[in-house]
Symmetry: C2
C-alpha cells in the first residue's frame, strides 16, 4: 500500500485538519467529532447537513460553504459517522429554523442520522431528512436495503443549500431536496479496486481488461463483469441503464460525469463527450454539465454518470451561487 498518510488510524482527523487549514470559511470541530462547518452562521436560515463514511472526498466536507452545506459529518473510512458526531453537525448547522439532513441510503447512515435526529429533537432542534437512492445498478446491496446513494447526492446538496440560502422554510427546503432525489439517477463502473488505509490490501480483484458495471462506491458488487469496451459503448451502457429506469425523454437535465478518484480528467471528458452525443440522439437536452471528481472511492479507477431532470425551480437552485470549494457556481 502506497499512501501519503501517517498513521492509518489518523487519516480522517488529519485530512479534515488539512481541509480546514486550506479553507478559511470553515471550522473543524476536532478529533473524534470530525465535523466541518461554515464559519459564518446566518440566523434564521435552515441548516443543511450531510455526511457519511470518509474516502469519498470531496464528499462531503468539500461541499460545505455558502449556498451548499452548512456542515458535513465524517465517519471513519467507508463507515457511517456515529449519532454523537452527527448531533454535533446538526448543532453546528442550526440557527433556529431547523436542519435538513441529506442522507445516502446506506443502513448505517440511515440508522445513525435517525438517532441523531431524535437527539436533536430532545434539544429542541427540528430536523427533517431526505434519503438519496440514485444508483440504478442493483435493487439492494451489501450495505443498503434498497438502492445505494452515490454521486446524485451532490445535486441534492446543491439544491437544498440554495433553497436554504434563499430563505425557504424547512418544509420547502426538504420538498426541493426530495424533488431532486426523486428525479436523479446514477450508474457507475469500476476499473480498479481501492485500498483502505487501515487494511492495506485491495478489497477485490479485477482482471487486466475487466471492468465491473454497477459496482458501488465501497466496492460492493455490481451487475456484471466484462471486458473493457470503448468509451462510446461504456457511455451508452451506463446512460442506457439510467434511461431504462427513468423516463428522461423530452426533458432538460443536469449531467454529472464523476470520477471515482483514480481516473484522469482526460478520460472523464472523453466519457462526457460520448454521454452528450448519446443524450442528443435520445432528444434529451443538457442544461448544465459537471465533469470531475465529486464522489470518489479513494483511488478507485472508474466513473459514474448522473442525470437530474430539471424544471424551472430546480434550475434556479442549481444556478444559485455556491462558494463550496468543490462545487463553485
Amino acid at each position: 500500500m502506497k499512501k501519503i498518510i501517517n498513521n492509518p488510524n489518523d487519516v480522517v482527523t488529519e485530512m479534515l485538519q488539512g481541509l480546514a487549514k486550506a479553507n478559511p470559511n470553515v471550522v473543524y470541530a476536532g478529533e473524534g467529532v470530525e465535523v466541518i462547518s461554515r464559519k459564518e452562521k446566518k440566523s434564521g436560515k435552515v441548516g443543511v447537513i450531510s455526511g457519511g463514511g470518509s474516502g469519498h472526498e470531496p464528499a462531503h466536507a468539500g461541499y460545505v460553504g455558502k449556498g451548499m452545506l452548512d456542515a458535513a459529518v465524517a465517519g471513519n473510512v467507508f463507515a457511517s459517522p456515529s449519532p454523537d458526531r452527527i448531533i454535533e453537525g446538526i448543532k453546528a448547522a442550526d440557527s433556529g429554523a431547523g436542519v435538513l439532513m441529506v442522507i445516502k441510503n446506506y443502513s448505517g447512515d440511515i440508522m445513525n442520522f435517525e438517532m441523531a435526529g431524535e437527539l436533536a429533537s430532545m434539544e429542541d432542534i427540528k430536523t427533517a431528512s431526505v434519503v438519496v437512492k440514485d444508483d440504478v445498478a442493483v435493487p439492494n446491496s451489501t450495505f443498503s436495503t434498497g438502492r445505494r446513494g452515490i454521486a446524485g447526492t451532490v445535486f441534492v446538496h446543491k439544491v437544498a443549500g440554495a433553497a436554504a440560502e434563499m430563505g425557504k422554510s424547512l418544509e420547502e427546503v426538504q420538498a426541493a431536496a426530495q424533488k431532486t432525489a426523486d428525479n436523479v439517477r446514477s450508474m457507475g463502473m469500476a476499473m480498479s479496486p481501492c485500498i483502505l488505509p487501515g487494511v492495506g490490501t485491495p478489497g477485490f480483484d479485477l482482471g487486466e481488461k475487466e471492468v465491473e458495471i454497477g459496482m458501488g462506491i465501497h466496492g460492493e458488487p455490481g451487475v456484471s463483469r466484462e471486458d473493457l469496451r470503448p468509451a462510446k459503448d461504456l457511455a451508452e451502457e451506463l446512460v442506457g441503464r439510467i434511461l431504462a429506469d427513468y423516463d428522461y425523454s423530452g426533458s432538460e437535465v443536469a449531467v454529472m460525469v464523476n470520477g471515482l478518484g483514480g481516473t484522469p480528467l482526460m478520460e472523464l471528458y472523453i466519457m462526457y463527450n460520448e454521454v452528450e452525443k448519446y443524450l442528443a440522439e435520445k432528444g434529451i437536452k443538457i442544461y448544465r454539465a459537471f465533469v470531475g471528481n465529486y464522489m470518489t472511492s479513494l483511488e478507485m479507477a472508474g466513473c459514474s454518470v448522473t442525470l437530474l431532470k430539471l424544471d424551472d425551480e430546480l434550475k434556479t437552485y442549481l444556478d444559485y451561487p455556491s462558494e463550496a470549494p468543490a462545487f463553485r457556481v
Copy 2:
C-alpha cells in the same frame, strides 16, 4: 491498459470536445488545431495563452476563462503543440493589445512557442513570453535544458490573467508573470507510473514500497528512489528542498499541494496538513492554499508542493476573480 477512451489517437480531440461541450464559456477550434479559447473577447485586453503536451489536465484548457487564460493550446499526450497550433491560440487570444505566452520550460515547448511568436509578428500581433522553471528537483532533465516547469505554472496563469483582465499593458502583464515565475518553486514525488494511451504500458516501474523524489510530470528521472515514508517526512523532504533553493523565510506565500492524477484528495489534504505545520515551524506565513489536481500526469500517483512568495501586487492578482472552471476564485 484500462482507460475510458475510444481510439488512442483521438484522445486529445475527444477530450477537448467534451470539455467545450461541458463549458459554455469556451470554444473548441476543432480537430488538428486543438485550441480552447474564451467565447467572450474583450477588445483591447492583453491576451494570455499557455499550452503544452496533453495528459496534464486540467492544465491547460481548464484554466481558460475570464480572469485567467484566453486560450490554451494542446499538443498530443506529453508532446509539444506545433507552431501552427500555437499561432491559432495566439490569434484566438489577440484583441489588439498583444498576447503573453506562458511557457513551461521544455525544449519542444520553447522552440514551438518561439516560432509561433515569429509567425504572429508577421501578422502584426505583438507577443511576449514568460518561461516557467519552478521544479527544483534537477538542474537539467530529459526534455529540458534547465529546470522543468510544473505546477507553479498555474500561479503564473492566474497572475497574468488577472493583470490582463485589470487592463494592464503587455509589458505590465509580462512583468507580473515574470515576477511570479521568479518567486515560485515546486518539488514533487511519484508513487506510481502513468500509461500513455498510445503506448499501453507503464513508462517505468517502481517497487511496491518505493517512491521517486523529484520525478518529472512525464516520468523523467528525479533525484532519488526511496521507501515510502510517512506524510510528515515527505512534506518535510519536499518543502525542505524548496527552502534550500529559495529563501522564503519571513515571507507570505501561496501554497499549492497538487495531485498527479491518481492520488485521492484525502491524501492531498493530509499532505497539506503537514506542509502547513512545517511552514509554521519555519515562520513562513500562508496567505492562501490550493489543494487538488492542478497539473497532473494522467493517472500517476504522487503529488507536488509549490510555494509562491507574495507581495501586495501578487496578492491582488491572486485574489482577483477567475471564472476558469479549474481555478475558481
